[in-house]
């Protein structure tokens, strides 16, 4: 079920109330059952796939603690292969197979293997990585193997973060299932406020921007110039609000029950470099790749060319994780290239900084860095959103065509007018909402707004929360639009 659905509006309070009513020893069982119900609301039979991986990893974890020597590696490989194997079959087999078919056709080879007709299980990439994280940490001796099968299953299936993260580390989440959590009104209220903010980002901002983006990116060949730039600009905020909104709802829902999930986004569009962007965007995934791919490859403790190679591979794999399509791989590779160029040009850029005396006006310098970093990420998003490389190339080649022509700006308005449920107000409202988001993000640099509202405006804080709720009710787009990251 989706977080922005009526079913979840009923599911969440029931689960939360049951959680606090039940004695501590039964809570994990209730949460596990609820998480199963949550998962089975999508495609019920896929729970067996999840059960299979949970079963293997649970017993592998125990075996890793009991066994010494080379056999430990064998168990580790079994677990990794089973997890990656399932991920490969459901997510990547058809992609690789179709590419082999193209190569075979080119060389006139006989290639008999057909693509599989299967649907990707929801959240597969997320819980696979979470399971791998557990096994690797147990292997390294940094995490004790969980002895309670139900608790381990809950660690993998915990419903707030089951289908789209954050990808949790066992050191953070697993131990919390053994802790007793009490009902604390301030913590519950804080969790609900996070969920409200997540909803605003998702249904008010992201889903509204999606109407315009889908119109343009659905048929980009019908447009050039400003409509393409506008759609790409909107998409940058759509994907941020969609994904960070989901994370906020997940973190807030967990917090209500007393669980602390990791922060997944930290105002990424205020980053001054691509490296900083990746320390702020999808933090749980980027740290996963850093700890389990980049560092084992050698990280930055090697020669410069080897470091660049490590970066490139890590980001390419990150792109592949997002989807079985060349566009995602290119998107990942592009981000890797950005970082490599950034490292290679560091000295030159410092010299330019001194030469232009920008270092003496740090605020202007910061602003330039932020705008430049945002532009680079926005450019990369073209590949992420385009249906295929041909479309991405079309967009890049035509997005600056005629941008100084006033008719090009009128074209944006015309597109908006043609979209039902978007209209003229939708276009203005979209810009207002993006501005509102930027202001909130800027304010959040120094304060936690939720706490500030309660402290500084104690008499009207309720009005602010009501305004948020009614913003969701009135301005929210409640189509069946899924969260973008569900498809991963």
């Amino acid at each position: 079920m989706l977080f922005n659905s009526f079913k979840f509006l009923i599911f969440f309070p029931i689960v939360t109330i049951l959680y606090f009513i039940l004695p501590h020893k039964f809570r994990w069982f209730m949460l596990l059952t609820s998480s199963c119900i949550f998962y089975m609301a999508f495609v019920p039979k896929y729970i067996f796939i999840l059960a299979f991986t949970i079963f293997i990893d649970f017993f592998v974890g125990i075996a890793l603690e009991k066994i010494d020597g080379e056999k430990r590696k064998l168990f580790l490989i079994i677990s990794i292969l089973s997890n990656i194997g399932i991920l490969f079959v459901f997510k990547y087999f058809n992609f690789f197979n179709s590419n082999i078919v193209k190569v075979a056709d080119f060389f006139h080879w006989n290639y008999p293997i057909e693509s599989l007709k299967i649907i990707l299980p929801i959240g597969l990439s997320f819980h696979t990585f979470q399971s791998l994280s557990y096994i690797i940490e147990v292997y390294k001796g940094k995490q004790k193997a969980e002895r309670n099968f139900g608790i381990y299953a809950l660690f993998v299936m915990f419903y707030p973060q089951l289908v789209a993260g954050p990808i949790e580390r066992p050191q953070n989440l697993l131990t919390q299932f053994h802790e007793r959590h009490y009902f604390e009104i301030s913590r519950v209220a804080d969790g609900l406020k996070m969920m409200l903010w997540g909803m605003i980002k998702k249904v008010v901002i992201a889903d509204r921007l999606a109407l315009f983006v889908n119109q343009i990116y659905g048929n980009p060949e019908n447009y050039y110039g400003m409509p393409l730039i506008s759609a790409t600009f909107f998409f940058a905020f759509q994907i941020y609000c969609d994904f960070s909104g989901y994370s906020d709802i997940a973190i807030g829902a967990a917090k209500v029950m007393g669980f602390n999930l990791m922060t997944n986004f930290n105002r990424p569009y205020l980053s001054k470099s691509i490296a900083e962007f990746w320390r702020r965007w999808h933090i749980s995934l980027s740290t996963w790749f850093k700890d389990y791919v980049y560092i084992p490859l050698g990280g930055n403790r090697c020669s410069a060319p080897r470091r660049y190679f490590n970066l490139f591979i890590t980001f390419m794999l990150s792109g592949l994780w997002h989807g079985a399509n060349w566009t995602y791989i290119i998107w990942g590779a592009l981000n890797g290239i950005y970082q490599i160029i950034s490292l290679m040009t560091r000295n030159i850029r410092n010299k330019i900084l001194v030469f232009t005396k920008l270092e003496k006006v740090p605020n202007i310098h910061k602003s330039i860095q932020i705008v430049f970093t945002f532009s680079l990420t926005m450019f990369a998003w073209i590949f992420f959103r385009a249906a295929n490389i041909r479309q991405a190339i079309y967009i890049i080649r035509n997005m600056f065509v005629g941008i100084f022509d006033i008719r090009n700006f009128e074209a944006v308005i015309k597109v908006a007018e043609g979209i039902q449920a978007f209209n003229n107000e939708g276009l203005i409202l979209s810009f207002v909402l993006i501005l509102f988001l930027i202001i909130i993000e800027l304010l959040q640099r120094n304060v936690v707004i939720r706490e500030t509202i309660d402290k500084r405006f104690p008499h009207i804080c309720w009005l602010i929360y009501y305004a948020g709720i009614f913003a969701v009710i009135i301005l929210g787009q409640f189509s069946k639009a899924q969260f973008i990251y569900f498809q991963f």
Binding site: F6, W462, Y466, I469, F470, I473, I474, L475, F478
Partner: protein, 352 residues
């Protein structure tokens, strides 16, 4: 003693705190629903600001009727809405009739409309327009709005709501039922525009002959169009070209059709089942029409009811010319007049 008193004080504070938190929650929820109601009322006021909602007009007219004054009730889809001119029947038969048909009204929705009617009316006859396509509708939520939003009976509304709990779009329907703000949120921007341009008080509108885009609301639930269908609507863009290919009976709708008949029997109301005609070019796309018509005929026969299928009549005799329709589906003013003149002696027979 001191320790005991301290412990008691702590316990009392803990209990007070729990009660305080509980009271805070209740207060927050209470004010939410209060704000929801107020905002919803403001938005509903500015909803359909210039031209009243047609279903709202129809039900308002119904509730203005004197108790036990209505002799004949018409139920059915939009085909019935444009087919039965209540003024014609009233003048020719010296009765009062009311047309409570609505767009895609399914037997399920029609059943609850009738239940609401029977609260303060005792009609002698129900003319039930059985358009076969509504018997295949699985999701009643779209059509249920046209009744649920306007009937006043809380029990009837609750029963209608409960009867569609398993429909695909039920959650959206329920959200609109629970939150007035959510229901009228589409008029948020029109409300802002109206207020900013000084259009604060709604202009009063006549209760009769209210003009909409292609048609006019006359009175007592009857809608009329003076337009005549063009070839493009009949032949080039006829919706039955695709819609006519597939149809499957929905058992729930058949059950509610039977329940409607039983409800009438229990209340000594005679029932006449008819099917309003469609233009021949539309019917050319319907391959298995005889089967659909037979099924309705069989149900009517089982209850000893008369069934007049003007559609089959039109296929055979062609007495409903294309000029009698304003689109590929609905009778225009001339078509309605022709049909009503055929129906007058039939209804007279029932009332005698």
């Amino acid at each position: 003693m001191n320790k005991e008193m301290q412990l008691n004080n702590l316990l009392k504070r803990g209990l007070l705190l729990k009660h305080k938190n509980f009271l805070l929650c209740i207060t927050f929820v209470f004010f939410f629903f209060a704000f929801d109601f107020v905002i919803g009322e403001v938005l509903s006021y500015y909803d359909h600001f210039d031209t009243p909602n047609m279903n709202s007009l129809m039900w308002d007219d119904f509730y203005k009727s004197e108790p036990n004054s209505i002799d004949v009730i018409f139920l059915g889809s939009s085909h019935a809405r444009f087919a039965f001119d209540t003024e014609t029947f009233d003048n020719n038969l010296n009765i009062k009739s009311f047309n409570l048909s609505s767009s895609e009204q399914t037997p399920l929705v029609g059943y609850y409309a009738l239940k609401e009617v029977l609260k303060n009316q005792k009609p002698k006859l129900l003319v039930y327009e059985a358009y076969w396509r509504v018997f295949g509708i699985d999701d009643n939520t779209t059509t249920a709005y046209f009744v649920y939003d306007y009937i006043k009976g809380f029990d009837t509304r609750s029963q209608l709501l409960a009867s569609i709990y398993d429909n695909r779009n039920f959650s959206s329907f329920l959200a609109e039922a629970l939150s007035r703000t959510y229901k009228y949120r589409d008029s948020f921007f029109p409300t802002i525009k109206n207020v900013l341009t000084g259009r604060i008080i709604k202009p009063s509108s006549p209760s009769k002959h209210i003009k909409y885009a292609d048609f006019t609301y006359h009175q007592n639930g009857y809608f009329q169009s003076d337009e005549v269908v063009n070839n493009e609507k009949l032949f080039e863009n006829n919706p039955f070209e695709k819609a006519g290919l597939y149809f499957k009976w929905n058992e729930t709708q058949i059950e509610y059709f039977k329940k409607t008949i039983k409800l009438c029997n229990d209340n000594n109301i005679k029932v006449l089942v008819i099917t309003a005609p469609l233009p021949k070019p539309s019917m050319d796309y319907i391959k298995d029409y005889k089967k659909y018509s037979s099924k309705i005929m069989n149900i009517a026969k089982k209850f000893g009811l008369e069934y007049i299928d003007y559609n089959s009549m039109n296929i055979k005799e062609g007495n409903f010319k294309n000029e009698f329709f304003f689109d590929s589906n609905h009778l225009n003013k001339n078509g309605s007049e022709f049909l009503d003149n055929l129906l007058i002696p039939v209804i007279k027979k029932y009332l005698n």
